[in-house]
């Protein structure tokens, strides 16, 4: 085969070479002949090596020999396995679980001062509980597309599609198009799979502003610039199926995002990435339950536009860039959301309602939040980390209260609690290999107005099967 290529090359050269070059033909021919001889010599050596190897194998163990041969033949690069299995996708499985205790009941978890996101944002359940088991199936579809499915088997015995998308392989020019359900490229942590997070749960800002994370149904177009500095621009159009948007029947996109990331190295020891992202949605009747000042249930809902900005950065350091022994990771994100539209207050489901009919008025809010976390691997396998979370209530302009339509500030204990939630989290984990991790996490969580929730948990994360590559 090599010879054929060489001959073809030789022909091509002879054909295309302008006249003066032909004079060197003799010399070239000589070179080629010598290369051919070299190749022959090496091929003989390869043969010799293989013979030696076969000898060693036969000495190694007679009983296993034939089976081993059959299997090693499969493993030989360049000779793919045959049969129906040959095109099986890569499959991996993530197993996780927690044992937790907390001073406040996770069932009553809320972030005072912020509209509930309806996502899975509560801390780990008390006692032992299974986390989501994730099944990941991925393969190239054809020369043009790659496909991936992540199905989460929830501890409630349900199956959720976390991600299911196709991605183009051959667009070129740095472009990649993705379609289906996928983790949005906004922010930094959003695209990191949960089993690879450095803490068991999401930062408060992700819980309050994205309901844990943004994974919408839609399309994403990304472009990487042909520069030495990493520059990536992306845009997504989506259905807006979940908080901060609401799913609805509409012949248009319900959410769109824009994001830009830049990154590079500082010397050999440090790598960094920073980004700016924007998410814009227009929720309709985004409803949640609250209680009025007497403690009776009311329904509230918001319709309008929601716009979120995220600034993120991550910096990874390891001595000489060798992360095997020690390494440090610093990560932080800042969220800023403004919403404007109308709020509806409805206590008509009460037996003896104060107002009885839905009350509707203008509503606008500007709220923000951030977190900063550092994780240090101080020796192989062992890491500890600290995270500080903070949300700022900001300004909320509630027309129902301001215009004296009836309900007062005390009737909006969730939306109008001028509270600045904060949380301190400590983490300590041990990873015997890259496929297993056991973590101890302690947190003091002031998400609820006037209450401190002290949490402690042990978590395990195991991954089986195909070796996945992890994002930076």
């Amino acid at each position: 085969m090599h010879c054929k290529t060489l001959c073809a090359m030789a022909l091509a050269v002879a054909w295309c070479a302008p006249l003066p070059v032909r004079a060197q033909d003799a010399e070239l021919g000589k070179i080629r002949e010598e290369i051919r001889q070299l190749k022959d010599a090496y091929e003989r050596r390869i043969q010799g090596l293989e013979n030696r190897l076969a000898e060693a194998e036969s000495r190694a163990g007679k009983a296993e020999r034939s089976a081993a041969r059959a299997e090693t033949a499969v493993a030989q690069p360049g000779i793919p396995a045959g049969g129906e299995n040959a095109f099986n996708p890569a499959i991996s499985l993530i197993l996780q679980g927690t044992a937790a205790r907390s001073s406040q009941d996770p069932e009553t978890y809320r972030i005072s001062g912020f509209a509930p996101s309806g996502g899975e944002v509560a801390p780990a359940s008390r006692g032992a509980s299974l986390g989501e088991s994730e099944l990941v199936v991925t393969a190239n579809i054809d020369p043009y597309f790659r496909g991936l499915l992540i199905a989460a088997l929830t501890p409630e015995n349900e199956v959720e599609v976390e991600e299911a998308f196709f991605q183009t392989l051959a667009l070129g020019h740095g472009l990649t198009l993705k379609g289906g359900r996928f983790l949005s490229g906004i922010g930094y942590q959003n695209e990191v799979h949960q089993h690879f997070w450095d803490f068991q749960d999401a930062p408060l800002a992700y819980k309050a502003f994205l309901g844990g994370r943004q994974n919408d149904d839609g399309v994403q177009l990304k472009w990487v610039a042909p520069t030495e500095l990493f520059i990536e621009l992306g845009a997504e159009l989506g259905r807006g199926r979940s908080f901060p948007s609401t799913a609805r029947s509409r012949n248009a996109a319900g959410a769109w995002t824009l994001f830009a990331h830049v990154g590079g190295d500082i010397g050999t020891s440090t790598a960094w990435r920073a980004g700016l992202s924007h998410l814009r949605t227009s929720p309709r009747d985004r409803a949640f339950e609250d209680v009025d000042s007497l403690g009776n249930p009311v329904a509230q809902s918001f319709s309008g536009t929601s716009s979120l900005w995220i600034a993120d950065f991550v910096l990874k350091w390891a001595p000489g860039g060798n992360s095997a022994l020690t390494n440090f990771k610093l990560q932080g994100e800042y969220f800023r959301r403004s919403e404007s539209g109308a709020l509806t207050y409805d206590d008509s489901t009460q037996v003896v309602p104060q107002f009885g009919t839905p009350i509707n008025a203008g509503y606008a809010s500007r709220q923000s939040g951030w977190y900063l976390q550092g994780v240090y691997q101080f020796m192989p396998r062992w890491r500890f980390g600290y995270r500080y979370d903070r949300l700022n209530f900001g300004s909320v302009d509630n027309g129902i209260v301001a215009n004296g339509l009836g309900p007062v500030g005390g009737d909006f204990p969730l939306l109008m609690a001028g509270h600045r939630p904060a949380r301190n989290t400590l983490m300590f984990d041990w990873s015997p290999t890259e496929f297993s991790r056991i973590r101890l996490q302690l947190a003091s969580d002031k998400s609820r107005f006037g209450l401190t929730d002290n949490q402690a948990l042990i978590q395990y994360i195991f991954s089986l099967g195909a070796h996945g590559a992890h994002r930076f």
């Binding site: 090599h2 060489l6 090359m9 030789a10 091509a12 050269v13 070059v21 070239l28 070179i31 080629r32 010598e34 290369i35 070299l38 090496y42 390869i46 293989e50 089976a67 081993a68 090693t72 493993a75 030989q76 690069p77 360049g78 790659r146 991605q167 392989l169 051959a170 667009l171 070129g172 020019h173 740095g174 990649t176 472009w223 990487v224 610039a225 042909p226 520069t227 030495e228 500095l229 990493f230 990536e232 990331h261 830049v262 990154g263 590079g264 790598a271 990874k316 000489g320 860039g321 060798n322 992360s323 095997a324 290999t433 496929f435 089986l464 070796h467 590559a469 992890h470 994002r471 930076f472």
Partner: protein, 300 residues
């Protein structure tokens, strides 16, 4: 900021008007970067993704790698799953179809040499084993020669107007390499039969080439850090069968090796492992010169 912008502009310009260097080569590890430079000369511009001081098993798909892969015409890697933890992501995220697996722009060195230690059975309980065999192929100069032949052909295929140029460089390199190999084999004669304790099984091809023996590894299983229990076992077995030296690569933690060396009373040495792993390992020739010199120093 101004500087960033001008860097970006320059890079954009560079992309818009391909420079004289015809091929952008992205080498996963220093040895392949050095080989591409030998074979491609000034027709290639080589970017090496990792250094000799970095454990090749623990590289991350950092942004700079994605940016470099974006403009690469050829990715030269080891293969045999050595880069499985980061390269697939870099390939996917760069949006560069030229360097996908199976394309001419993707070159796997391990595909051109016979692999040793192909496991008959694979299971993660055996540690970080590579199903295709041991991927650290570059410390046998005959492997380098085989890979050089194949890589030379690949360069010529990607830069078809310059076939003669690459053929000539391949010949010059291989002539020098053949001479050097003969010299190394002559000089290394005293090493034959010597038994070595390694850190990770990344010197297998070197040991095989020179007819040495591996008396054990500091890692209890491939990829797992040394443990006291395992080192004690190793120490006991070394008291029965003495080894010539404990050999570790430039990127390995020296502590375990020194612990064992002191108790077993055998020397512990560091070899460059790849180009850049020592002051003298400036290129592939220097790599082998220095590796043999360090081994011979403890063999006498």
């Amino acid at each position: 900021m101004k500087r960033l912008l001008s860097i970006a502009q320059l890079a954009l310009l560079a992309a818009a008007f391909p420079a004289a260097a015809a091929l952008n080569v992205f080498a996963c590890t220093p040895e392949w970067g050095a080989l591409a430079t030998e074979l491609g000369g000034d027709r290639v511009s080589v970017y090496t993704a990792t250094t000799a001081l970095q454990d090749p098993h623990r590289i991350e798909a950092r942004p700079s790698l994605i940016a470099r892969a974006r403009s690469a015409d050829l990715v030269v890697c080891t293969g045999a799953e050595l880069e499985i933890g980061w390269l697939p992501l870099v390939q996917a995220q760069s949006g560069n179809p030229k360097i996908r697996v199976g394309q001419p722009g993707y070159f796997e060195a391990a595909g051109h040499v016979p692999l040793l230690e192909r496991p008959a059975r694979i299971d993660r309980s055996m540690g970080d084993v590579h199903p295709g065999g041991n991927p650290h192929v570059h410390l046998d100069p005959h492997n380098i020669a085989r890979i050089a032949l194949a890589l030379g052909e690949r360069l010529a295929k990607l830069d078809p107007g310059e076939t003669a140029y690459y053929s000539r460089r391949a010949k010059i390199f291989l002539d020098r390499w053949r001479e050097a190999t003969a010299r190394w084999e002559r000089d290394a004669a005293p090493l034959k039969g010597a038994s070595l304790v390694v850190y990770h099984r990344n010197l297998t091809y070197l040991i095989h080439w020179l007819g040495m023996r591996e008396a054990g590894s500091l890692e209890p299983k491939p990829g797992l850090p040394p443990t006291t229990a395992h080192l004690s076992e190793l120490l006991a077995s070394l008291r029965q069968n003495r080894a010539r030296a404990i050999v570790r690569s430039a990127y390995n933690d020296p502590r375990a090796a020194e612990w064992l060396a002191e108790r077993a009373a055998i020397p512990s040495i560091q070899v460059p492992f790849t180009v850049g792993g020592s002051d003298k390992a400036k290129d592939l020739f220097g790599l082998f010169d220095d590796t043999l010199a360090r081994l011979l120093a403890v063999a006498q």
